[in-house]
Symmetry: C2
Subunit: 130 residues, 2 copies
Amino acid sequence: MKVIKLEDLLGTEREVKSPAGWTSVRFLLKKDGMGFSFHETTFPPGLRFDMHYKHHLEAVFCYRGRGVLTNRDTGEKFVIEPGTVYALDQHDRHTLEAETELKLVCAFNPPVTGNEIHDADGAYLPDTGD
Amino acid sequence: MKVIKLEDLLGTEREVKSPAGWTSVRFLLKKDGMGFSFHETTFPPGLRFDMHYKHHLEAVFCYRGRGVLTNRDTGEKFVIEPGTVYALDQHDRHTLEAETELKLVCAFNPPVTGNEIHDADGAYLPDTGD
């Protein structure tokens, strides 16, 4: 059993602050052996960010805030609010825009190693064996 | 892309109400093809419940409420509060007690099929191919 407190990860390599403005705290990474990674991500109000996880499936639960998710493959838009889950099961190109601060709980399969960066397309690069 | 609203699952087979008092809303199950399942679980104040996932790994993020998690294998106790994650990476026998209503976001690997029940030990039974 592992018990991990958010406050203990702040300022460590498990708190990733994007130059774009979002912050992602990685509670569980590949090396934790769960078969998925488990993060809390914060989008500040007004942030609009394009993503495309070519190599991962991701599920996201919103527990606070309000925003809009756009599926850039289809043009569809969805309100994101507490109690909304979205699942990127088709490696969907997507844009998330926060109207108020968004608090999101995210699971990735395969698990993120912690060393990925978003490339120019907003993807995480594939795992290279870490 | 799937976008799922909590309110749309209430009263369906994806809202599981335990006779013990907890409720689990299954946003993503095995058949959703994510490689993990993704739930929101609510423990009402005062509920104390023994669990033992012999066949699954589980990670849990608390976003509201306060409780105590006991590792029944070691006797250790941990405060569960917003921003706490616990990971059952050793199929740990555990007890969760809610002091106030606990709101939990849970990921299971392998994914729950939706048909499991807790057996007498508090385990989910293994997947039989659904």
